[in-house]
Symmetry: C2
Subunit: 242 residues, 2 copies
DNA sequence: CGAGTATTTGATGCAGTTCAACGCTCGTGG
DNA sequence: CCACGAGCGTTGAACTGCATCAAATACTCG
């Protein structure tokens, strides 16, 4: 049997806002099960109208969309605690695909119950909108990065964001976080060719800013990396969990 | 005195879903006035915590953010009916700035009342989330464009999107729509230099795909333009008005 | 008419792409 | 236990789409 929300492993993470007992009970009714998927498996498809929505409990994944010519754009990386499928829930159609890159376990909700949130639990409805707004905020940043920053700046920005997100989740061990992706994934996220991604990572390594190999990202000089990326270091804000 | 929602000029546009009498009355209490601003005036600033939220009634504008180095990324163009300030309303801080490019009139709401939506009017709360999801969807598209499409494809994509949006609003006169922006604006939206934007527009003109001058965008060959942009032509979906 | 802003065009340079090849690590099967 | 191939990372060389530089031509408005 799936874990109850009361015992949700994410609930203990400092990053997330606390949920009232009532809300927890409410969420439990909403949860229909847990899903474990293997690396490389897509579980939401662009254009699909999925009956299920998810919250990532363990593991990592990525959101992407593909041009008919085959070019892939990675929109974002999926971390534990991320809510997946908002577009399907609200618009009835996903604008991008989502797939697991590590083994993942997902908390599964039923889309048909979506509306009851808004009807019966305004706090939770607000939280959903909050999450949508955060995603919009992030995509704006990403767009600015791909549009205006150089390959090195963009890469520095991306590595830093990854570190910050993982750190906020309590997943960092000192200056090291797990980042189980391929150079191809990051290249597709930043609109760079694989070859140039590789060369850019080398320069960042040579500049003693950060290293990334064997799925491990190590930040060597946070401050210089941040300056370089033109990114301000700020304390992570608490976010609601779904 | 400002127009009542009952007489809102946008309400008559086919694009928007109909609002019940009750909802209209509800919105009227929420509305605190109308604001008319001159071209070139910014009215929401990145990082600010605006006490006001807006819906564009007339005119056009753009959302953008700026790197400390001065590079500007245009995130989106603002059309009549667009809701502006969701991030301020939900997150308490805007992730981008918004400014008028033509004279605009805005319907003004009070942010402090925001929460009452979720509490007392779940339909309207859902609509808000719907809008947030649509924005997320669009930004994903834009990111893919800037990241993966060539300058010509990206430009074709952008011109087509602009035409589609204006057409859906009933603002098109045949194959012509008003598009009161500078080449610099579109360049900053697509991550291109001004010079290259100009040269790209020339090629699109020479290929008899579209022309854009004097704030007027004319689509010459919709089908070929769409193929070229790798964009599917689809009927616009009705959207809620705020 | 003159000053400021926007568009246009040509020339030159470079950041990033594309092509090609090699090495490393692992899992698989003989 | 080794041979083999597939996937990923790495590196060099050649090429090009787009940026940058520079300057001329319209357009707008006091």
């Amino acid at each position: 049997m799936a874990t109850k929300c009361t015992n949700c492993p994410l609930k203990r993470r400092d990053l997330f806002t606390n949920m009232s007992k009532d809300d927890l009970a409410f969420m439990e009714k909403f949860k229909v099960g847990e899903l474990v998927i293997d690396p490389g498996t897509p579980f939401l498809m662009e254009g699909s109208n999925s009956p299920q929505l998810y919250t990532a409990l363990h593991g990592m994944g990525l959101r992407h969309k593909t041009l008919s010519s085959g070019e892939r754009q990675v929109l974002n990386f999926v971390f534990p605690g991320d809510f997946i499928g908002l577009q399907a829930g609200v618009l009835g159609e996903m604008g991008h695909s989502v797939e697991a890159t590590t083994r993942m376990t997902l908390c599964v909700f039923d889309r048909s119950e979506f509306w009851t949130f808004f009807k019966h639990n305004p706090e939770r409805a607000f939280d959903l909108t909050w999450l949508a707004a955060v995603e919009e905020h992030f995509l704006g940043d990403a767009l600015m990065t791909v549009g205006q920053r150089s390959a090195q700046e963009a890469t520095a920005w991306a590595l830093l964001r990854v570190y910050q997100r993982a750190d906020a989740l309590g997943l960092a061990q000192g200056n090291v976080v797990r980042f189980p992706f391929k150079q191809r994934d990051l290249a597709d996220a930043l609109g760079l060719s694989l070859v140039h991604m590789n060369k850019t990572l080398r320069r960042i390594r040579e500049n003693q800013l950060a290293t990334w190999s064997n799925d491990e990202l190590k930040i060597l000089d946070l401050k210089r990396l941040a300056e370089f990326a033109d990114l301000e270091l700020e304390a992570p804000k608490k976010r609601p969990l779904f």
